[in-house]
């Protein structure tokens, strides 16, 4: 009964703490705060600069890029490269592939991860610790590149969407986050639903999932971003460019540019402009959604850190 009211004490405490600090701030600490603010601003500038530079290059003409005169603002503003890249059918085909791969892979991953995490969250389930054990072990020891490659090849999954969407369907990290979430799910709700005649499937589908929307959204985003960004699976398992995701389109541009640079030709600069445009177009969806999805990511990581 001695507990204080949380709703009142939290903001007050912060104010009290701040005022105490302000009173006791030494000159040295005040100097530190100015330096700190300046330093953090500098870090923001360093973080953002490459993106600004990229956009500037995307809208600049090749001559200015070649002369090394483009940094913060476009020089010789034009959008011809944009129209050129955007009229490339292969670019759009690869972009469409990225969307398809991301959607299918995320759906598969969510189906497997959610059901697995739910079953593993049931502490009474016989054999549970064994299943958790064999799952977590894959985090620390795995088959390695070649055995995986040989497996996918021998399953005949090369040059098909399955090589991209199946092999990474369960991320153990995401699984553990979901498991700890389900472990904290109020058991009374599930018991009540079971008494009302729902089977395990019904409890899961009608009670647990609808009440877990926040964590499901976080997981969807975790998976979607990682599939959207992935390129290596496609690099490894796909030989035909019409199957590539857009990251592979970009990768091939970069690779072409570096090999040209090796030979010392000056067509690099043209590639530099095209590269910048392709990168801007690839990054665009993520940067647009980023401000809205960022907090889901943060809460997801927090959720995982509560119980590792």
């Amino acid at each position: 009964m001695v507990t204080t009211d949380p709703t009142e004490s939290v903001p007050d405490l912060g104010a009290v703490r701040n005022s105490m600090r302000t009173i006791k701030d030494t000159t040295g600490y005040r100097v530190f705060r100015y330096v700190n603010t300046a330093f953090l601003l500098l870090i923001c500038v360093i973080t953002l600069y490459p993106f600004v530079n990229l956009v500037a290059k995307a809208f600049s003409s090749e001559g200015y890029i070649a002369a090394g005169e483009v940094n913060l603002f476009p020089r010789g503003f034009n959008t011809t490269t944009f129209s050129a890249v955007m009229s490339d059918d292969m670019f759009w085909l690869n972009y469409r592939n990225t969307v398809v791969y991301t959607v299918v892979a995320t759906l598969i991953a969510m189906a497997l991860t959610t059901t697995f995490a739910y079953a593993l969250s049931k502490k009474d389930l016989k054999g549970r610790s064994v299943f958790v054990g064999i799952t977590v072990f894959t985090m620390f020891f795995s088959g390695g590149l070649i055995p995986n490659y040989l497996l996918i090849s021998s399953l005949g999954m090369k040059n098909s969407i399955w090589a991209i969407v199946i092999p990474n369907a369960i991320s153990v990290f995401n699984l553990l986050i979901m498991k700890s979430f389900f472990e904290n799910f109020p058991a009374e709700l599930e018991e009540a639903a079971a008494i009302d005649g729902l089977s395990t499937y019904g409890v899961f589908g009608r009670i647990v999932l609808p009440l877990s929307k926040a964590v499901l959204a976080t997981m969807v985003l975790f998976y979607a971003v990682s599939f959207w960004n992935s390129w290596f699976q496609a690099f490894l398992y796909m030989d035909r460019s019409e199957l590539y995701p857009v990251t592979m389109y970009l990768r091939n541009l970069l690779a072409a540019a570096t090999s040209v640079e090796d030979m010392g030709s000056d067509s690099v600069q043209i590639a530099s402009n095209v590269q910048a445009v392709t990168m801007v177009l690839t990054v665009l969806p993520i940067v647009c959604f980023y401000p809205f999805i960022q907090r889901f990511f943060v809460s997801g990581v927090m959720l995982g850190s509560v119980k590792g």
Partner: protein, 332 residues
């Protein structure tokens, strides 16, 4: 308001004190008594949930793990996934006597150590600095901006690095502006380590602060008040309260980092390097990629991969054991 708060508080705490013993008793008795037959009969629907994921793990995680056996066996393309006949440690001896292997091994150690030493402490420092910020909006803005690179595809990061380091890129613009000679960074092996580590810092440090910031919020304010009353200055408070407060987080992350020590950014290096940079940029994983996938020496590169994986496993287990013994906290 306040009575409501106290009531629910009292209620929940009351429930808590009653509930646990029941739970544990029930859990224990069920554990010791149920047979597999009963468990399957009662929970078969839950086991159906397990079926597909476990099948997935078996095929896509444990079959490749068993596939490592071809490191000890002759492998025929088109033949069995697990090789044709035993050759013992033939492939291990082969890479042991391969000078290229030792070059990439050294490169991996150097890059791994550099990343660990440079990249690991920076998020801690950044989190401590962010913790001193009092303007909430400014803090949020800094966080939002510094998290951004984490969401970029590795291909984009590589593209950005190539753009910045190219002859007409920003870094050379700065060098020219202060009167230096432009450097062709991507053709000079001596620069690769700096470039790699810097790009890691750019991409990972902001996001790396999240767990530390979370840990910082759990430190009890009363500790700081007590320290202030005892006359501790800001620096002493940081050293004696804040840092010990986030120590468990530091240790967990350090163990995880040590475990992935040898798995230095394989994809990033694959995207960034070219033959001119091999003397410093070529690492175990890129070497085994070229030898295995490009040249088709499957057994040979599997032997290298297995060697790397075992070192990784050993590292993470010893880091865990050491931290359990010395600091008292560990991953498992």
């Amino acid at each position: 308001m306040s009575t409501e708060g106290t009531l629910t508080e009292a209620n929940s705490s009351g429930l808590d004190t009653i509930a646990p013993p029941i739970k544990t008793r029930r859990g224990r008795s069920r554990h010791s008594r149920t047979t597999w037959r009963e468990a399957l009969k009662k929970d078969w629907r839950l086991y159906t949930f397990l079926a597909l994921p476990v099948l997935f793990l078996a095929i896509f995680r444990y079959v490749p793990m068993a596939g490592n056996i071809i490191a000890f066996r002759r492998f025929q393309p088109g033949g069995s996934l697990f090789g044709e006949y035993w050759v013992g440690f033939y492939y291990f001896e082969q890479f042991w006597n391969d000078p290229t292997f030792w070059r990439v091994f050294t490169n991996t150690l150097i890059l791994g150590a550099l990343s660990l030493v440079v990249v690991f402490p920076l998020p801690i420092i950044l989190a401590l600095l962010l913790n001193e910020v009092r303007t909430r909006t400014f803090k949020r803005a800094v966080q939002t901006i510094t998290y951004l690179p984490h969401f970029m595809s590795i291909v984009i990061v590589a593209g950005i690095v190539l753009q910045l380091t190219s002859l007409d890129g920003t870094i050379n613009q700065i060098i020219s502006a202060v009167g230096g000679e432009p450097v062709s960074f991507m053709q000079d092996p001596s620069w690769f380590r700096t470039i790699y580590v810097s790009s890691e810092v750019w991409q990972t440090v902001g996001w790396g602060t999240i767990l530390y910031l979370a840990a910082l919020t759990t430190i009890d304010d009363q500790l700081y008040e007590a320290a202030r009353i005892d006359g501790a200055n800001r620096w002493q408070q940081t050293w004696h309260i804040t840092l010990p407060g986030i120590r468990p987080t530091m240790i967990v992350l350090l163990i995880l980092n040590i475990g992935s020590f040898l798995a230095v950014g394989f994809e990033k290096i694959l995207l960034l390097y070219n033959p001119l940079l091999y003397p410093t940029a070529d690492v175990i994983s890129t070497y085994l990629f070229r030898v295995g996938i490009n040249s088709g020496s499957y057994s040979y590169s599997t032997a290298i991969g297995l060697f790397e994986a075992i070192i990784g496993l050993t590292l993470v287990m010893s880091a865990n054991a050491i931290s359990r013994r010395v600091v008292g906290s560990s991953l498992w």
